[in-house]
Symmetry: C2
Amino acid sequence: MKVKTKKEVFFEESLKLINEKGFKGTTLRDIAQKLNFEAPNVYNYIDSKQSLLESYISEITKEFHGAIDNVMASSYSPEEKIRLVIAKHVQMAVNKPYQLALLENDWRHLKEPGLGKYIDARKSYMNKVISIIEDGIELGEFRAVNVEILAFTLLSSLRWLFRIIADEESEINPIELEKQVVDFIFMGIGKE
Amino acid sequence: MKVKTKKEVFFEESLKLINEKGFKGTTLRDIAQKLNFEAPNVYNYIDSKQSLLESYISEITKEFHGAIDNVMASSYSPEEKIRLVIAKHVQMAVNKPYQLALLENDWRHLKEPGLGKYIDARKSYMNKVISIIEDGIELGEFRAVNVEILAFTLLSSLRWLFRIIADEESEINPIELEKQVVDFIFMGIGKE
DNA sequence: GTCTATAATTCGATAGAC
DNA sequence: GTCTATCGAATTATAGAC
């Protein structure tokens, strides 16, 4: 078991607090109190409250975009690509639920130019998903649907997976979670 | 066309601002500026900033719970009940996108005892959906699945429909939106 | 790295005149 | 209903001693 550095503990505990009270609702005093020191000491770890938000968000968005770019550039079929995208979201929800929560809850508190970049990147991500779905429809792997609405609904069900982990008291089996989500997205709830 | 009262304009404009900047990120001065008067005048319309949040949230949660209780008490089949639940979410997303956004983004800023009540009500809502799905599986209308994960994923895709309306520049046809969402949830994206 | 002290600003809210 | 003036508290952040 690796020993956590003070810096790692700082970022982990801050993350949990922000998850409970929101970025704007979490004060540097709150963070300091949780770590049992006085407020000005947070500046031993960060330059500003804003930079704290930015570091959490940039880390996780880079990971998502790196993953989907690799998927796009692969020779897998559209159906397999969608499976890989789902797998990535499940994996992230299981491994970094609080960071995902922060991303979804508090991205709006980014300041320019970071905010504009984030919004653009988010659109770009959805466009890549749309592109995969379009290919899949063309190849007859998917039903013909309104791709914008579908991509949006699909991503919505993926983006909020972290709540299952963050909210649920019970343990979740990641493999079972992925299977259930894949089945839902490909087959829906209907009998046939 | 009904003429809007000043009070209606106040609540509408406040809602849009909160949607952009979040509840904690929106100051009473921001609201006053948008309405072209000075900050203390907001107290002509509300008792406190907190009561503003509470009124938005209680209105919309009552509507959802009233709807699902009527559905539960009806003699429709589970499949038809799920269709009605989806229809309600689509209808709300189309008619009250900003209020739904506030609900999802800022419910955590409720204070006790309202916060606890909201969390309980949210769990209760999901339990009702789970109950419908369980009935449907028993009757052979739905595939046998992990109902908790399914209900969660299903509700996630419904709860974020408002973003299609709030974000999208293009007009959305509510009837088409409902059809696409129903098809996605019952059949998924797969060909068969 | 930790603290005390405090600056500079902003916030929700109130008082009271018109 | 609208304003000016302002209070009291809280916030991010800095200065500087230990």
